[in-house]
């Protein structure tokens, strides 16, 4: 019992449940309209390269033409059609972001679990676990851009390098979340109860600790997704992303920078909007899912 006003909300929810009020099922709670932007995005990703008007990697016309009937979103300083690049880039940006989200979350869960379960052991295993935990903490302090630049410079610019690099940058975030959660769950009473029921330590970790500890990391996926889209574009902006002229929103913005300084807004704005749209779309879809699942 706390005097905290916040704790009362839980009690009210309990009262509501206890008084027999039923809550509508998952699918009814799901707000379908919120899925629309993400659906649009997925469609673009799927059919993107087929709905281009011009070849996204070939010069389509004179540079820096304003948006009009011929070029729906104008052309960038090098003469490439902005619209075509935009839709073609959707697939790659989405794919990279999705792979990164999955990779970083999966490795974060595994690593976080291993660290958290072994941290308090004496001996070499415990020492190693603590060492890795510290390293993960510090790894987060190294600027993401720097890590991306370093890895790309070492291993060359390709989609694979990008995926691995960004996943490596973001995995510590998930690892830390999972580790903290594992440490919390370890002291929960139901683990002792499971031991009393004869469950072995390994089964304990897999059946009880893992599902509970992984939840915050899974809840964080929307954030990871958003950040990875931005990071991909940032590296592309710096010229350390995919090899040109692969269409990519970040490098589009880089090309559009010179135009923007002289008042030609289109070659930088549309990719920027595309970035924002992707992040918001996935965020909306994810929150809709989580609200419904609660």
């Amino acid at each position: 019992m706390t005097g905290s006003v916040g704790a009362r909300a839980d009690k009210i929810a309990w009262v509501a449940r206890a008084s027999g009020r039923s809550t509508p099922g998952f699918w009814r709670r799901f707000r379908w309209p919120r899925l629309a932007p993400a659906a649009l995005l997925l469609v673009m990703g799927a059919i993107g390269p087929s709905i281009v008007r011009y070849n996204p990697v070939r010069i389509a016309g004179p540079g820096s033409i304003a948006p009009g009937a011929e070029f729906w979103m104008g052309t960038d300083p090098t003469g490439l059609d902005v619209y075509s690049q935009l839709v073609a880039a959707t697939r790659l940006n989405l794919a990279i972001a999705t792979l990164v989200a999955l990779l970083s979350t999966a490795s974060g869960i595994v690593l976080g679990l291993l660290i958290g379960m072994n941290e308090s052991r004496t001996g070499p295993i415990g020492l190693a676990a603590r060492g890795i935990a510290r390293f993960v903490d510090f790894a987060q302090a190294v600027p993401a851009i720097v890590v991306g630049l370093v890895l790309v410079s070492f291993f060359g610019a390709s989609a694979t390098t990008l995926v691995v690099a960004i996943a490596a940058i973001l995995a510590p975030i998930q690892t830390r979340i999972v580790r903290v959660e594992v440490l919390r769950v370890r002291s929960e009473a139901f683990l002792d109860a499971a031991r009393m029921a004869g469950t072995g330590e390994f089964a304990l970790a897999l059946q009880h600790v893992l599902p509970n500890a992984a939840r915050p990391a899974v809840a964080n996926i929307a954030f990871i997704f958003g950040v990875s889209i931005i990071l991909t574009a940032a590296l592309g902006f710096l010229g350390a992303g995919l090899p040109p002229p692969t269409p990519e929103w970040g490098s589009m913005i880089a090309r559009g920078a010179t135009d923007a300084a002289v008042g030609r807004w289109w070659s930088a704005s549309f990719p920027f909007l595309a970035l924002i749209f992707s992040v918001v779309a996935m965020s909306l879809a994810f929150t809709a899912w989580r609200r419904a699942a609660r």
């Binding site: 005097g3 905290s4 006003v5 916040g6 309990w14 449940r17 510290r134 390293f135 510090f138 987060q140 302090a141 190294v142 600027p143 993401a144 851009i145 720097v146 630049l149 370093v150 790309v152 410079s153 070492f154 291993f155 929960e188 009473a189 139901f190 002792d192 109860a193 499971a194 031991r195 009393m196 029921a197 004869g198 072995g200 599902p211 509970n212 954030f223 958003g226 950040v227 889209i229 931005i230 574009a233 940032a234 902006f237 710096l238 010229g239 350390a240 913005i253 559009g256 920078a257 923007a260 300084a261 008042g263 807004w265 930088a268 704005s269 990719p271 920027f272 970035l275 992040v279 965020s283």
Partner: protein
């Protein structure tokens, strides 16, 4: 006391110690206790008496520091080491703990939790186990449909009954109950106590009932054992102890539970050493210095750990270069190089010789702060970095300072006026944390504020072209300008900094803001805040208190954000044409200047580690509980 030599659960002078050295705490002190089949013993004591620890030791959930426990004559340690014997033991001896929100796995239904022991310990298959579960639940008076619910969907009283069911499902011969009724409402306590007592009587199971509530324990148990500070000071039949106890502590305990119906209770003798004094501060300069040094030992040790951590990064950078697929030398020289050129490049990359030689040279040079030579420019990396890095760091620091200022103001507005439009806007912005592309904001900022509105100068460097750069003193451009006193330079530089700093604020404040708002919202609702207000503290004190409590997590986040800002500074430099690491780095990436990248990684890691150290020290200043060696709860 009947001592059945072989039967039952017996402890022999057991000791349980937590922690080590100066901070060790003896929870159980030389306890010799036995629980024979069919007995019902109540273990009473106040908080800190060690009774819960004793309970856990009896069921084998904790290991002993000294002494031994035997079960039917066999050593418990031996039993627990063998899986088969351990499962048998668990089937015979079960523990039910106090109901808390974490007594059951929130992801599993209650039926599952109760069924698992029947399957794993009694070897029943799922159908038989389910039948057994239904049987136990019926005996405990639990409505069957509740079993299909999740733990948070039933009340505390029902959950406690499920916890009992979970233990009773295997028909244990010995049951240890730890504070099983303390959290229950009075109206429910009676039911649970009745069930427990009669279940044990009917099945002939032995019961160890641990509780601080004397009346409930006296009802359930036929014998009582009184525990104080880890020792059992008295044991006897319930009737004897209640009527004729000879121990002062026991009598004190009994008095406390006897309330006279009207008015005040009769004056009680306080037990010995009721109030514990806080730790005595040492006297004398020498002792104080030694004490201070011991208390500061941790961050000194932390400082000493810095080289070790740097070594890890250095080794990582070393390993990364060697993991590059193919031959980097060939890539750089283009495959057509003469042997001399090849050797020269290989040497400057540090890739000549055997691996141990390479490592030795690498580390040796690092110790001398020699990061190697840049392939592109031919100058030493140390001089390149010394030339350019300060400017980048200055930019990042300015961005951080400005962001923090904006963050504090915005957080105050968002939290104190939660329903205003400003607050909604601020919170939405904070919700976008981490997903704001600073490079895109920068480009659009240039378009809007320069190309369209002409409010800021052209993004062509730090100074207007007509102005002479101030002489280099520290390497930090703005500081140098201030030091030189050149009015024109200062003004020009400030103008050129407006948009970059604005971009950094917009892009990176959200992360810290989100953390701060969440922390403040949480702290505002805490009892500590309400109590402060309730006792009439002025609003300024209350706000200061709330901020101070919310600060440490935010400071930690700010440390991480500095890392983002260094990356952001690199982007800003490339966008606005500032001199610094940005241009150098992008060139190095394009030209595959591996030495430079490697050196940069190590350098940045150093900076980050120092930032982290600073953050930790700040937090220790803000929140004294984070200082190591701080004794908590001077009891």
């Amino acid at each position: 006391m009947v001592e059945s030599a072989l039967q039952g659960l017996q402890t022999h002078s057991i000791v349980k110690r937590f922690g080590h050295g100066r901070h060790s705490h003896v929870a159980v002190r030389n306890v010799t206790f036995c629980l024979v089949p069919g007995a019902r013993v109540g273990i009473v004591g106040e908080s800190g008496s060690g009774k819960s620890t004793l309970g856990r030791l009896l069921v084998g959930l904790d290991t002993l520091s000294e002494g031994r426990i035997t079960f039917d004559g066999q050593d418990l340690g031996d039993i627990l080491r063998s899986r088969a014997r351990r499962l048998d033991y668990r089937r015979a001896v079960q523990l039910v703990a106090q109901d808390t929100s974490s007594s059951f796995d929130p992801l599993r239904r209650l039926r599952h939790a109760v069924r698992v022991p029947a399957q794993q310990l009694a070897g029943l298959d799922q159908a038989a186990a389910d039948a057994r579960v239904d049987e136990v639940l019926a005996a405990l008076g639990v409505p069957e449909h509740l079993a299909d619910r999740y733990p948070y969907e039933v009340s505390g009283g029902q959950r406690q009954r499920f916890a009992l069911a979970r233990a009773l499902v295997v028909r244990p011969r010995f049951l240890v109950c730890d504070e099983v009724v303390s959290a229950l409402d009075v109206s429910v306590q009676g039911q649970v106590l009745n069930l427990l007592k009669h279940s044990c009587i009917d099945t002939g199971a032995a019961l160890a009932f641990i509780s601080h509530g004397l009346p409930a324990t006296a009802f359930v148990a036929s014998e009582l054992a009184v525990m104080v500070r880890g020792e059992i000071i008295e044991r006897g039949s319930t009737a004897d102890i209640l009527a004729r106890s000879t121990q002062a502590y026991t009598r004190h305990l009994l008095d406390a539970h006897r309330v006279s119906r009207h008015g005040r209770t009769h004056a009680m003798q306080p037990p010995a050493a009721a109030l514990v004094q806080p730790v005595l501060a040492p006297q004398g300069f020498g002792a104080r210095a030694a004490h201070l040094l011991r208390r500061q030992r941790w961050w000194l040790a932390r400082l000493a750990a810095l080289p070790g951590q740097l070594l890890v990064f250095a080794l990582l950078a070393f390993a990364l270069v060697r993991m590059i697929p193919g031959d980097p030398v060939r890539t750089i020289t283009g495959g057509q190089a003469t042997p001399d050129k090849y050797a020269a490049v290989q040497h400057s990359l540090g890739l000549d010789g055997t691996l141990p030689e390479q490592l030795g040279r690498y580390l040796g040079r690092l110790v001398h702060l020699d990061l190697g030579t840049s392939l592109l420019t031919g100058r030493t990396l140390t001089s390149e970095f010394a030339q350019r890095l300060p400017a980048t760091l200055e930019l990042a620091t300015m961005g951080l300072a400005a962001s923090l200022l904006v963050t504090f103001i915005a957080s105050a507005i968002a939290v104190m006026r939660p329903r205003s439009l400003a607050s909604v806007a601020i919170r939405s912005y904070a919700g976008a944390a981490g997903a704001i592309p600073d490079f895109a904001i920068g480009v659009l900022g240039i378009f809007l504020f320069y190309a369209t509105l002409h409010w800021v100068p052209a993004p062509l460097g730090r100074l207007a072209l007509s102005i002479q750069a101030p002489p280099r003193v520290t390497g930090l451009p703005f500081v140098d300008a201030l030091l030189s006193g050149d009015q024109a330079a200062i003004v020009s530089m400030a103008q050129h900094l407006v948009l970059p700093v604005l971009v950094m604020i917009v892009a990176h404040s959200a992360v810290v803001l989100q953390q701060l708002i969440a922390g403040l919202d949480e702290e505002l609702d805490k009892p500590a805040t309400l109590f402060r207000i309730s006792t009439g503290a002025p609003v300024s004190t209350v706000l200061l208190s709330v901020y101070r409590r919310a600060l440490p997590a935010t400071v930690t986040m700010a440390g991480t954000v500095f890392g983002y800002l260094v990356g952001g500074a690199i982007i800003i430099e490339s966008l606005f044409g500032f001199e610094g690491m940005g241009q150098y780095l992008t060139d190095a990436v394009a030209g595959a200047d591996l030495t430079a990248m490697q050196g940069f990684l190590v350098t940045i890691a150093t900076v980050s580690l120092l930032i982290f150290l600073l953050v930790d020290l700040c937090n220790m200043l803000i929140d004294p509980r984070r200082r190591p060696g701080v004794a908590k709860d001077g009891a």
